[in-house]
């Protein structure tokens, strides 16, 4: 039987700009994935709880507020606490070049900044999820 890739798309933090997240959700849907869209202003705790209940393969987060250095590692830490570090984390948004190495070090598998192609993101997910 066909087993679609399940992705949680979430917006942690306080900025209210979700057009990017919706674009990505739509692109992943069109690529045949099941996208659980949780909307704006999610806490890291909510994101991890939802990811576990939904048994997703991957979490995609979008931040435009500048809080990425705090929120992304927090989500990864919570996943580890719950023995769920097999769930891959990718991120997008307005993220300065200088911050990217540290975020990758913290466990974010990939970071897509403005200008990234949706096809690139789809391909990255297909190539990298653990099945």
């Amino acid at each position: 039987m066909d087993k679609p890739i399940r992705v949680l798309v979430a917006k942690p933090g306080l900025d209210g700009h979700d057009r990017g997240a919706k674009m990505i959700a739509r692109a992943l849907r069109d690529a045949g994935m099941e996208v659980i869209y949780t909307g704006l202003r999610q806490t890291p705790e909510q994101i991890v709880a939802a990811a576990i209940q939904e048994d997703v393969d991957i979490i995609g987060m979008s931040i435009l507020s500048g809080a990425h250095n705090h929120l992304f590692p927090k989500v990864i830490g919570l996943l580890k606490d719950q023995d769920a570090e097999d769930i891959m984390v990718i991120a997008g948004g307005v993220i300065p070049e200088d911050d990217i190495p540290a975020l990758k070090e913290a466990g974010v598998a990939a970071i897509f900044t403005p200008g990234a192609l949706t096809t690139e993101i789809v391909q990255f997910i297909r190539d990298n999820i653990k099945r």
């Binding site: 039987m1 679609p4 959700a25 849907r29 996208v35 659980i36 719950q82």
Partner: protein, 310 residues
């Protein structure tokens, strides 16, 4: 299976994994359901159905919160449509239920319909069984937004709540067959909007025309996003459950659904068997040609196929 033991002890991750198995893996799913079937049948299963945008998710959120005040364990299965073109889906019901995510007594799972057309996914009934075994006191199934004839929810729920909103058409809509016949309880949501009273009146008139005198479904006006009258809806759901129990109808209803499920399983297996027997050797194609050329009719061929299996 290790996962089953964990799930029975209340492990959410294990529960989530098991639901994925019933969604994705037919063979493993069978083994799993065989093991947990005896633990099912305890929860009160409530179906929430209605047109897209009627407020089913918001209503589910508010109702689940009310149940949590009495410490009941609540499971939610929220179904959204899968694309017939790509197989992808946007499952967005959780947006209305975000603050339930952290409640240890709530488990929410989104499901895509994956080609099923009756308002549920194929695996919904088995996912309900897992949540039942997991220990949920109440399981709320939120269907996809339905039109007029997606009535699979009656096969899966003890109580069906039909959510309507003002402005969807005149009173003739309410006497049509199909979806309007399956509500054990009618809820007019967004009752702060113009026309809500009229919608309620039309539903009431439809219900008063019914010949069934045993029980007339109540109509409750609520405004889910303002948490208004949710308690009244909850009371009516409880009252319906008590009505079923007191009149021996819960058993009757569940037996009917069990029988239906069994027959569906047999039907599915039988079909697979026929395909297995006739597809690879070209028999199915030969029969198609025979029918196309009108050499015989489909009923005769059906009987011939069935007799080869016997």
């Amino acid at each position: 299976m290790e996962l089953i033991n964990k799930m029975l002890k209340g492990d959410k991750r294990a529960c989530a994994r098991l639901i994925s198995i019933v969604e994705n893996d037919e063979k493993e799913s069978e083994k799993l359901i065989k093991k947990i079937y005896k633990y099912t049948g305890k929860a009160h299963i409530i179906g929430i159905t209605g047109p897209p945008g009627a407020g089913k998710s918001t209503l589910t959120d508010k109702y689940a919160k009310l149940l949590r005040k009495s410490d009941y364990i609540v499971g939610v299965i929220a179904v959204d449509p899968t694309s017939p073109y790509t197989g992808g889906a946007i499952l967005g019901d959780r947006i209305r239920m975000n603050d339930l995510a952290l409640d240890p007594g709530v488990f929410i799972r989104s499901m895509g319909t994956r080609g099923y057309l009756g308002g549920l996914a194929k695996a919904t009934r088995n996912a309900v069984k897992i949540l039942d075994a997991y220990g949920c006191d109440y399981i709320i199934i939120e269907t996809v937004g339905v039109g007029q004839s997606e009535v699979d929810i009656v096969k899966a729920a003890d109580t069906v709540v039909l959510v309507m909103v003002p402005g969807l058409g005149d009173d003739i809509q309410s006497i049509k067959a199909g979806i309007m016949e399956i509500g054990d309880l009618f809820v007019v949501n967004k009752s702060d909007l113009f026309g809500a009273q009229r919608t309620a009146t039309e539903i009431n008139m439809m219900l008063d025309m019914s010949q069934n005198t045993d029980r007339r479904p109540p109509v409750v006006m609520v405004t889910a996003n303002q948490n208004k009258n949710i308690d009244q809806m909850a009371q009516e759901i409880q009252r319906h459950y008590e009505y079923l129990v007191e009149n021996g109808l819960l058993e009757e209803r569940r037996k009917k659904n069990i029988k239906r499920e069994l027959l569906e399983l047999v039907e599915e297996e039988l079909k697979k068997l026929v395909i297995r027997e006739t597809e690879s050797n070209g028999e199915l194609d030969r029969m198609t040609d025979i029918l196309f050329n009108k050499e015989t009719d489909p009923f005769t061929l059906r009987d011939r196929l069935l007799s080869t299996i016997k």
